[in-house]
């Protein structure tokens, strides 16, 4: 089979095993009754709602990937099918938390207008322009997608960790820990693929560097409201702890094959309020 195998010293991520053991509906383990006596603060609920919106935007993200050469790679698409399924249920768990706290589901709240920043132009491209430019880019574009996927996992992980700590809610901390557990395998896949693809191709490195210099975070942020993005930046990456968290991501990015401190710093700069 081609689902497993060695990548250098590492064992390649097993996509079939991941699909087979996908984790769905979490409602039974969310300790929702706990929120009756200890409801979340407005700030925590805002963070939960924004994370829910990010997690449920899988179909938009899939579209952007699938109009490029990434759709040709059956192993990557097999992963993405299960990835979307797991994220659907993460978003559902976050919705359940919102509802248990008397808030509507994330998608049921009217979202504000997106931020219009000139430098984020390429993230806002529609499917037609993505498809046209992807014809020229070819297969190395997959490296861009898996690397941005990996960086996105690091950033959202920081957000969940911050949420669990700031909320001072045992129930939410337990839900966040379950979510991070599910997301760990997504990060593992992206890391595996990013390391292999960035190591193998100078063109992949070049495209990825260019993409990371310009990217807005987290993935899909350009479609979210300006207000939510500003909140997220100061909530997750504001203050000393936030700056340290962004610095840790900077180091992780810089350590990827073919990337360096210039790229790491560009990513971190975009995270800060």
């Amino acid at each position: 089979m081609t689902t497993t195998g060695d990548v250098g010293q590492r064992t390649r991520f097993d996509v079939r095993e991941f699909a087979r053991t996908a984790r769905g509906n979490h409602r039974a383990e969310l300790q929702l009754a706990e929120y009756t006596d200890a409801p979340l603060s407005a700030e925590s609920l805002h963070a939960v709602r924004y994370l829910g919106r990010l997690e449920s935007a899988t179909m938009e993200h899939l579209r952007n990937l699938l109009v490029t050469a990434t759709h040709k790679d059956a192993r990557v698409t097999a992963f993405l099918v299960t990835w979307a399924f797991e994220k659907f249920w993460i978003a559902d768990a976050l919705d359940a938390v919102l509802q248990a706290n008397g808030s509507p589901k994330a998608q049921d709240v009217v979202e504000g207008k997106p931020r219009k920043t000139r430098s984020e132009h390429s993230d806002r491209r529609g499917p037609i322009r993505r498809a046209v430019s992807a014809i020229r880019l070819g297969v190395p574009i997959i490296a861009v997608h898996v690397t941005t996927g990996l960086v996105d996992e690091w950033i959202t992980r920081a957000a969940y960790v911050r949420l669990a700590a700031a909320s001072k809610s045992a129930a939410l901390a337990s839900t966040v820990s379950m979510i991070l557990d599910v997301k760990q395998r997504h990060a593992d896949f992206f890391e595996d693929e990013a390391l292999a693809r960035l190591t193998g191709s100078r063109r992949a490195v070049k495209l990825t560097r260019n993409a990371l210099l310009k990217a807005a975070w987290p993935i899909g942020a350009v479609d979210r409201s300006a207000e939510d993005r500003t909140f997220f930046e100061s909530y997750v990456f504001g203050g000393d702890a936030g700056i340290a968290s962004a610095a840790a991501i900077e180091l992780q990015v810089a350590a990827l094959p073919g990337l360096d401190t210039t790229i790491g710093a560009a990513v971190a700069q975009k995270l800060l309020p």
């Binding site: 109009v67 790679d73 059956a74 979307a84 559902d92």
Partner: protein
Amino acid sequence: MAFDIDKFTETSVRVPWDDLDLEKFRDHPLPDSTLRTLRYMTDVEYHTVCYTRDLLTTPSHKEADMSAFMTMWNREEFWHGEALSTVLGIHGITVDFDEVKASRLKLGWKDRLDPIKQSIAGKIVGNDFVAVHMAWGAANELSAIAAYNRMAELEKDPTLAELLRRIAKQEARHVAFYTSQARERLAKSKKAQVIARFALGKFWAPVGSSIMERVEVKHVMNHLMSGPDGRKAARRIDSSISSMPGLTGLTIVEDSLNALGIAA
């Protein structure tokens, strides 16, 4: 009746086959022509994600119900591919991800332009185009059910028949979603009806036509849809499609069988 998306997502599972004795095929293998058809079906199921891409380039992805359905639909179809490839694997036919990838690479230039073409159409007619996709999806899923059920009938083996019926049962829920979406959206817009009628009448072809060689399409259609019983199944699909608003009189499945020269 409206499709209950919450119920669908809560009850969506990967098709089960652990309880079926597929290992017996080692001693009692299925005939070659059956395996050839199964191979076709496996490829089609694994390629579902490619159709999603075309669907996603329309405004439909902004709707939560549509997103929820497509997430589960994709996964169920992927597992149909896994189930069928397990059967093939027992017969020594390997369908791994690299092989699926190779057939996608063969699609070439035309396929690359597809999402561009579809996006432009999606922009021009806005939400009406979603109606066309839904009617198209209904036609595809209806023919998938017919194919699995026909094969279950033709193939006397009870174990394979049971697996195929389980798959067909999941496809039936997909039909329900697509049909209810298509009906509702078509009923709301005369323009959508005109475009759906034009698109289905002019471009529809049996599922897999865009990804498999014509000789394979003919084999599968001959295997499953030829003769009086095959025609009867085709007419049943056509009558479901033509009962949708604005699609009266369409006979796209029968027309496509005729175009392929499949004997009635």
